[in-house]
Subunit: 413 residues, 2 copies
């Protein structure tokens, strides 16, 4: 956090993992990860086609969409982090499309979650009189409308020709990754560039971007919860929010970049290329994205000591704190927006004001929670250096959150 | 705090102080304290008469009122804590009148402070649009009206025949305290009941009431600041607020009870009775109520080791946290009340809702601050026992705070 020393000990690649990666080819490891998640993407898509449309199968359809988004996020993120290994134009195009798709698909879910958060907040707040009830009714009406629009948009997106092009590209990716000529050569020879030499530095860059962004964060507010922003508070708050949302995205990139490495450590040489199902198994990840225990090491590539099974689970916990942060500031914005509805009663507006403040307060609490987790994750050596300010354009775009689920630009990766 | 062991180590009477009190008469010590503060009361009253009415001398008049209230609070509190030593009917009558007077005089000041707190809160909050400005104008108008009414009420109170009766009683108190026959006898003989034997147990009762009330407090809310009160939140909140406000009053009683003892340790035998000026010096308190260093010990009563000069200063700090708590919940109530003004714009009501929530949040912060201070004060041995549930009627009355400075019942002691 700001002011403290910037350690990265808890974030680095463990030595055992690095050693395991020395015996794997960089192109194979990346291909294996992409094959796995491309297969997952296609499986989720089939699941959605089978379950959408009926009321009884709605939960299964929602779960299929959730898995589709998880796969889309991981493929897009891996293409960004390990971009030097793949055809750049193709990677940028596909990752952009996946991001857009994931955002469109997320909207309905986010809208429902925000509505639940706001109504829960109103319920917990101690609001006398009719203001609270009216505010609840207003929010419910607005969100229910937005949600059904988002649902239609998601269904339309999944039958659009634009989506079919994405699905086709992912179908190819399940069997073959468009590598750069150099990476492809290594994939054949796999002695020139091992996974450690090629992938770890790229993962380190993702980590350094995250560490630097966290170190540059404005500090969380004091515990009395009042802003100290002065007259230009609104502008300051937006800037601060944007910085925190960027950290949320960078943390996710870091986590997925690590997933590639951990999955690669489970895949010995010869695994991965050419057979999606095989690589899905050997890449060491389950269908839900949680890496599973590596299988018995193959003879010629047995790692000298156990490799950790997955990235530090505290990263996921820290990510959830940032998710809550994002949810809370968007809910606060939604409460403020609802208060601008014409012709509402003052009591309704008052309740929305209380609700807004409560959500901003929850956002502050989530920041503090992240800060504490982060301190524990870093709990190690001093100073990360070598940071290059090469935050990708995609990241800055993603930081422009859309608080209104009816109009939000896709921004979930 | 709730759940933890109830220690009182940091609150008890130090051994050196107890020893010093063995050489002083109980009646003399109490009389000395009352003489001092009665003299201070009369001096402040003269100061106010000299300075009130002119715009230039308004600050001096305000300071005189502040001192008058400080003296009234201490006299009233000492009469409650050490009631068994004085004529009960007289003490109850006078302490009730002093409490009422102090409340009336406090109203103007409290109104101004609340207005400043609310406008400062609005300024700090990040409120877009005209809602914030309109809310500020509304609050300013309401409080300015209330303040001038409170000012008139204070001036009227100070020339009322009811006040003259109080001033007469205090004037007597500056020279003679209506002791019980037994206490008066001891005062003459001053060997039967020394100050340690008589006063310390009564101070201990005040301390035990405080410790027990703090231990029974509902815990502060979690740091995310959201209430977890369920549908009956408003009622729960009022009960909780009342419990905390009672602790605020009990802490004050404890602190003043300790002041009597510390002042008594500075006053050797023979000091105190019969000469207000002399007792004012030897009682060891300055005019502002802060005990000063005891003078050189008189020959026949030199304490064997240095007596601490004053009660634990952390008590005053904890008291200020509770003052902030009280101020914040009253400001929150005032924001809610302003939002019920007929025909206000929804934007104004929204801003008041945000402001209300911000003040409730500051109240929670003050609670946490008190809890931390309290833990540090107690930082000692286990379990206080012997608590008798004899919270005085005055305390319960005081706990019924009046949030509206225009209608508030006097409740400051």
């Amino acid at each position: 956090m700001p002011g403290g020393p910037v350690g990265t000990a808890g974030l680095g690649v463990p030595a055992a993992l690095e050693r395991a990666l020395e015996t794997a080819g960089a192109a194979e490891v990346l291909s294996g990860y992409l094959h796995t998640w491309a297969a997952d993407f296609l499986r989720s898509l089939r699941l959605h086609e089978e379950s959408s449309g009926g009321a009884q199968t709605a939960p299964a359809a929602a779960e299929a969409v959730r898995q589709l988004r998880a796969a889309a996020r991981r493929i897009g993120s891996a293409l960004l982090t390990y971009r030097p290994l793949v055809d750049a134009a193709w990677a940028d195009e596909l990752s952009g499309e996946l991001r857009r798709l994931s955002g469109t698909l997320a909207r309905e879910y986010r809208c429902a979650a925000r509505s639940a958060r706001l109504l829960g907040g109103l319920h917990r707040l101690t609001l006398e009189g009719v203001g609270g009830d009216r505010a609840a009714a207003l929010l419910e009406r607005q969100h229910s409308l937005a949600r059904s629009r988002a649902h239609s948009a998601a269904l339309e997106a999944l039958v659009s020709s634009r989506f079919h092009a994405v699905a086709d590209a992912v179908a190819v990716l399940a069997y073959e990754v468009p590598l750069t000529p150099e990476a492809a050569r290594d994939g054949d020879a796999h002695d020139a560039h091992d996974a450690r030499e090629v992938l770890v530095p790229l993962a380190d860059r993702a980590r350094e971007r995250l560490v630097r962004a966290v170190a540059a964060l404005p500090p969380p507010r004091s515990r009395d919860g009042q802003g100290r922003d002065g007259p230009r508070g609104q502008e300051t708050q937006s800037r601060r929010d944007a910085a925190w949302l960027e950290v949320r995205i960078l943390l996710r990139h870091h986590r997925y970049a690590q997933e590639v490495l951990y999955a690669g450590a489970g895949a010995g040489p010869g695994a991965g290329a050419g057979a999606a199902d095989a690589s899905a198994r050997t890449a060491g990840t389950s269908g839900t994205g949680k890496p599973v225990a590596p299988r018995e090491p193959q003879e010629q590539a047995a790692p000298p000591e156990p490799v950790p099974e997955s990235p530090d689970p505290r990263l996921a916990t820290a990510g959830r704190a940032l998710d809550r942060y994002r949810d809370a500031i968007e809910a606060a914005d939604a409460a403020a927006a609802a208060a601008r509805t014409p012709r509402i009663a003052p009591a309704t507006a008052y309740a929305l004001g209380v609700l807004h403040a409560g959500q901003r307060q929850e956002a502050e609490a989530a920041r503090r929670e992240f800060a504490e987790l982060w301190d524990r994750v870093l709990n190690g050596g001093p100073g990360a250096s070598g940071y290059a300010a090469n935050s990708t354009e995609a990241n800055s775009t993603e930081a422009n959150r859309g608080a209104d689920c009816r109009e939000a630009e896709p921004q979930t990766l």
